[in-house]
């Protein structure tokens, strides 16, 4: 159970040129939680996600994934535990075909070919993209690319899923499929998003980031009820929340 944990203890991060991106962030996410990370542009959401996956290392404080501190030496394990879905699927679908791309992770893990094929098939089935297996990425729609990107990450059997703006650029149908998919997962999920309605539909906890600081941490209801607090961060409650009045 412990490998589903994500924890930050007093984490700060500063870019090489000196700009501070994150200041003294602390939180603890446990097994199976689905957490939305919200905040205006430039608040530090992407930085925070990058720290979870070890893409960058903190200037101060500690990041723990599955009770393992994230350091240069533990990166390989961290990458096995955390499945990271990037904001632009084109950055992530770099192999010639969908099948090759989803197989990329398992192959790097050293699995045997038949095992790899099994993992790929299962992942593609989960996201409903089996019919796309032999397609080249440039022939996929935005929603299809997103689904395949998720499959590519699922195929590595991670315990934690991190998604950066997963619903951006999707049409209504693709977005609805994505929400259904995310809701069906049992992994620990951390979703950075501007799509607050998605956060409402899928997540049980919301972290609010503003100017590099974690300013709120609570249930969706508590966070979205606090209009003034949201407004101070340049945010609004989701439409579906406002409409229910």
């Amino acid at each position: 159970m412990s490998h589903h944990l994500v924890e930050m203890r007093g984490v700060s991060f500063r870019y090489p040129d000196g700009t501070a991106a994150l200041h003294d962030a602390s939180f603890r996410i446990v097994h199976g939680e689905c957490v939305a990370l919200i905040g205006p542009n430039g608040a530090g959401k992407s930085t925070l996600l990058a720290l979870i996956n070890g893409l960058v290392l903190p200037s101060a404080g500690e990041v723990l994934v599955g009770e393992l501190p994230v350091t240069t030496r533990t990166l390989a394990q961290v990458h096995r535990t955390v499945g990271y879905v990037f904001q632009d699927p084109d950055d992530q679908l770099f192999m010639p075909t969908v099948f090759d791309d989803v197989a990329f992770g398992p192959l790097n893990l050293g699995l045997e070919e038949d095992q790899v094929r099994m993992q790929v098939d299962r992942a593609l089935q989960t996201v409903g993209a089996v019919h796309l297996a032999q397609r080249a990425p440039y022939r996929l729609s935005g929603g299809e690319k997103r689904a395949v990107a998720i499959a590519g990450v699922l195929a590595m059997a991670p315990s934690i899923l991190v998604l950066d703006e997963p619903s951006s650029g999707l049409d209504a149908a693709a977005r609805r499929r994505l929400i259904g998919l995310l809701a069906s997962f049992t992994h620990t999920r951390i979703i950075a998003t501007h799509d607050l309605d998605l956060a409402l539909d899928v997540c049980t906890r919301v972290l609010v980031l503003h100017a590099g600081r974690l300013v709120a941490d609570g249930t969706p209801a508590a966070i979205f009820d606090d209009r003034e607090g949201l407004a101070r961060c340049g945010l609004e409650p989701p439409l579906s929340w406002r409409r229910r009045d």
């Binding site: 893409l55 770099f94 010639p96 790097n108 893990l109 094929r117 080249a136 590595m156």
Partner: protein, 267 residues
């Protein structure tokens, strides 16, 4: 911008031809590659004045186009458009080589004969190359080259280049179109193209950085691993052997001449 768009459309359409299930696509990519290379070598091995003797070789591209369901019109259009440097250079032959050659009972300057030969060579070799891609697709071809022994770095580079040509081409198109819409009909100047290229390049670097992160996040250690490909089958051997026999035959026996003799019974 129409040039980039047109180029990307060409990439897409040719590659898409290979994705369909046709008899041509079922031939192993390695077999098709090797046979096409043998074909091209055969074509260029004829002497400069060969014209009629080359024609039976046209059977190969014609057959491939048929097997691959490639529309002949599209193929011919591509031939016509391909800026034929060869044709421009070849055009000098009639100017320089005026020695008379007997064609039947007519005397033609040899230069025209060799120019015609150049045109035939051009049509044959270029259509063979296009049909190769139409039969294998870029990725299939890269995989075939890898299995035939080309360096991995190179074949991996081909697939990555192909993959991102569309992404970067799209960015270039959008940038160029945006400039055009505010350009008031003026063609692009170097002073505009320079920074545009610079911006595209910076974005390319940023994207490469993100892709690298995505690769590391899924366990990349420097080696691009791929699944095993299709097995070589007996019919692939038949394909290569059969065509090579035909090429050898055409090379050694002047088939049109022979056919002519057959028809007319003359010596």
């Amino acid at each position: 911008m129409s040039r980039v768009d047109a180029a990307l459309r060409d990439l897409r359409s040719l590659d898409a031809l290979a994705a369909r299930d046709t008899p041509l696509a079922r031939v192993d990519a390695r077999a098709l590659t090797v046979t096409t290379l043998a074909f091209i070598v055969t074509v260029v091995s004829f002497d400069r004045y060969a014209v009629a003797a080359l024609l039976p070789l046209a059977l190969y591209p014609v057959a491939l186009a048929a097997l691959g369901d490639v529309p002949a019109a599209a193929l011919l259009r591509k031939l016509a458009v391909a800026a034929p440097f060869a044709v421009m250079v070849g055009l000098f032959n009639p100017l320089l080589d005026r020695a008379p050659m007997a064609i039947g009972s007519v005397d033609i300057a040899a230069g025209w004969v060799s120019f015609t030969s150049i045109l035939v060579r051009f049509a044959l070799t270029v259509s063979a190359a296009l049909l190769l891609v139409a039969g294998t697709g870029m990725n299939g071809l890269a995989a075939a080259l890898r299995r035939l022994g080309m360096p991995r770095v190179f074949t991996a580079q081909l697939t990555f280049l192909f993959r991102y040509a569309f992404v970067l081409g799209g960015e270039a198109t959008r940038m160029a179109t945006a400039r055009q819409l505010r350009g008031n009909g003026r063609p692009m100047r170097l002073a505009e193209a320079g920074p545009m290229l610079g911006h595209l390049l910076l974005r390319a670097f940023a994207r490469a950085e993100r892709i690298h992160q995505a690769m590391r996040a899924r366990g990349f250690d420097g080696e691009v691993r791929l699944l095993g490909g299709r097995r070589w089958q007996a019919r692939d051997t038949l394909f290569v052997a059969g065509w090579c026999v035909w090429f050898a035959l055409v090379r050694t026996v002047d088939v049109p001449q022979w056919l002519g003799w057959l028809m007319t019974g003359a010596t």
